[in-house]
Amino acid sequence: MTHPARRLDNAVHQRTRLGILTVLAGATRVDFAFLRDTLGLTDGNLSRNLSVLEAAGYIAIDKTFEARRSRTWIAATPAGRRALAAEVTALREIVQTVDRAAAAGARLAPRTGPARS
């Protein structure tokens, strides 16, 4: 079995992009401004990360005109939702792997006390 760290997806495994997919997964679609304000990003930073996710097929971007002003709606694709779920699973497994190793180390610790002189 591969270590869970090997299953992390480069497109998703980045704090901002993980945040974007998390917000999108909780809604049908989200406005660019809402996403920017929720994640505390600049327009340029958000745009760059959206481009990466769009190129990976994880989000769909829809530009519309509402009340004579442009509005950008972003939605997670089914592939994006699956990628987020896989990422979260892999992160949990990483934590569990280290927790198990630490617990095993703690069980062994009393046997390896300081040598008597």
Partner: protein
């Protein structure tokens, strides 16, 4: 960031941090905007329709059958408009369907229960509304809404078990719903 977490403790700490951020964002996004409108709309419907209880159960049932569809339409329309303004659209059709189905289920269950178990009039639906709203406030992680839900339950049970006429239960709970809804509307967590 951008690197894969290593298999050591540092990687696990990083992973833990990311999981914490994911959980925080999920909580922030899942806060529904429309916690107060259903209270005001259906509370007003209950209070206005309460005197119909003097005419019997059929009049009350007819009132709810007539008022429920426009009530749900009004609430869902408001929620959709708010969501659009805020820039986050949820599964509104799913929630609307869930609301209508649960309303119908509770209504039928209360009719059946009160007929079979001779429960005090109004006790069943009052508890159903209070428990349902408590669940919703828990989902939304909204403390003031949970307080309103518990108040609804207390007022409804107290009125249902009191010797007051049956129609006063609907009036009392309706007015409590409207008051609670307006308090939530003006409260700090209103969005």
């Amino acid at each position: 960031m951008g690197e894969l977490p290593s298999s050591g403790g540092v990687g696990a700490i990083r992973a833990q941090e990311l999981l914490g951020e994911v959980a925080t964002l999920r909580r922030r996004v899942r806060r529904p905007a429309g916690l107060w409108p259903p209270l005001v709309v259906f509370g007003a419907a209950a209070a206005i329709g309460a005197p119909l209880g003097l005419l019997g159960g059929l009049a009350t049932s007819s009132w709810w059958l007539a008022i429920a569809p426009p009530g749900f339409a009004l609430v869902s329309r408001y929620a959709a408009r708010q969501a659009r303004q805020q820039g986050i659209e949820g599964p509104s059709r799913l929630l609307r369907t869930l609301g209508i189905v649960s309303f119908a289920a509770v209504w039928l269950a209360c009719l059946a229960l009160s007929a079979a178990a001779h429960l005090p009039v109004g006790l069943g639906w009052t508890l159903a509304v209070a428990i349902g709203y408590l669940g919703w406030s828990r989902f939304a992680r909204n403390g003031p809404a949970a307080v309103v839900a518990v108040s609804l339950g207390v007022v409804g049970v107290a009125l249902a078990l009191s010797p007051a006429p049956a129609w006063t239960v609907q009036l009392g709970v309706g007015l409590t719903m409207v008051t609670g809804g307006l308090l939530l509307r003006c409260g700090p967590e209103a969005r």
